[in-house]
């Protein structure tokens, strides 16, 4: 085993994490290499130092705090949840707000329905009559008529490609 290969395996050798063949190769190298012997000793010191570190004690009350945290209802609704909880404490305010909301939605709906009923009374023929009059006096103002006129002409809007016509 080369010096480089052996030196890169010193940690694994120290931890007993090498296979038999690799372990023997490292051992053979160590017998002849003072540099690797020194490195191995240093690595072992680091391992020993870290291993001797005392286990850190969790601060008193940490787990009790965590249990308390877990017992607290989770605010699934976020800020809305807080608002809802507040609502239960003040029913009168909620009732007033609900009434206002109903009125705000219901009034335009009711008004729209009345308008539609009135329009139905006037009758559909008013629209037809107006349309016929307009078409007769000024046919180019009638969009439907205009569409019919230019539908088969090769008219293109600005910026759009004109459809090929002349076989080019």
């Amino acid at each position: 085993m080369t010096h480089l290969a052996a030196s890169q395996r010193l940690s694994a050798y120290l931890d007993g994490e090498l296979g038999t063949a690799e372990r023997r190769a490292v051992e053979t190298h160590l017998r002849t290499c003072p540099v690797c012997r020194r490195d191995l000793a240093e690595l072992e010191q680091v391992k020993t130092l870290l291993g001797a570190l005392p286990e850190v004690e969790p601060p008193a009350g940490l787990f009790a705090d965590i249990r308390r945290e877990l017992e607290r209802p989770t605010p699934v609704l976020g800020p809305l949840g807080g608002w809802l909880r507040g609502a239960f404490r003040r029913p009168a305010v909620v009732a007033a707000a609900a009434l206002l909301a109903v009125l705000l939605i219901a009034l335009p709906l009711a008004k729209g329905r009345i308008d539609r009923l009135q329009a139905a009374n006037v009758g559909a023929d008013v629209y037809v009559r107006e349309h016929a009059l307009l078409s007769a006096t000024d046919p180019f103002a009638d969009r439907a008529y205009l569409g019919l006129l230019i539908g088969d002409a090769n008219v293109a809007l600005v910026g759009q490609r004109r459809a090929p016509e002349d076989g080019r």
Partner: protein, 188 residues
Amino acid sequence: MLQYQPHEIEAFEALVERYGRRIYALAYRMAGNDADAKDLTQEALIRVYRALRRIDPAANLESWLYRIVTNLHIDLLRRRPKARVESLDAPLLTAKGDEVTREVEDPGPHPEEVVVGAQLDADIQRALLALSFDLRVVVVLSDVEGRSYEEIAEMVRIPVGTVKSRLHRARRILQAHLAHRMPRRDDP
């Protein structure tokens, strides 16, 4: 809101009892300060609690817990790239609002003497924090927590070969940082 059966609450309590201290210890070695370690432990246990019904009893629970802690720590580092620095001589505030000063152990008159005490602990912790996250997690799991390469590979989700090389690099860097703390060697 989660509604657990009494036996499920009991299972969670047993889990906290069994792994809570280890989780805190790992979090402390990774984060290097009590405040972050507490946050990490709390967040990890809350995640465990929420996932209680989904835990596979056949799975390696401990390695899963460790993975939660390390992942949370990665999140923490991402959110706050600068490490929290606690001044040793700044006064601390107690819960009542009084100021107290830290008692920091004196290094002592004989630096050659290996004293496994607060100062050495602080030196090692500082050296650990100087490592990149990738190297730190491997060396902490191996040398502080005593995990095998195989276990670390599973916890960190990296190949065993990567554990091997990262651990080696981490130890070499730590050795350079802690050389002044090493006992005098007498071997040839």
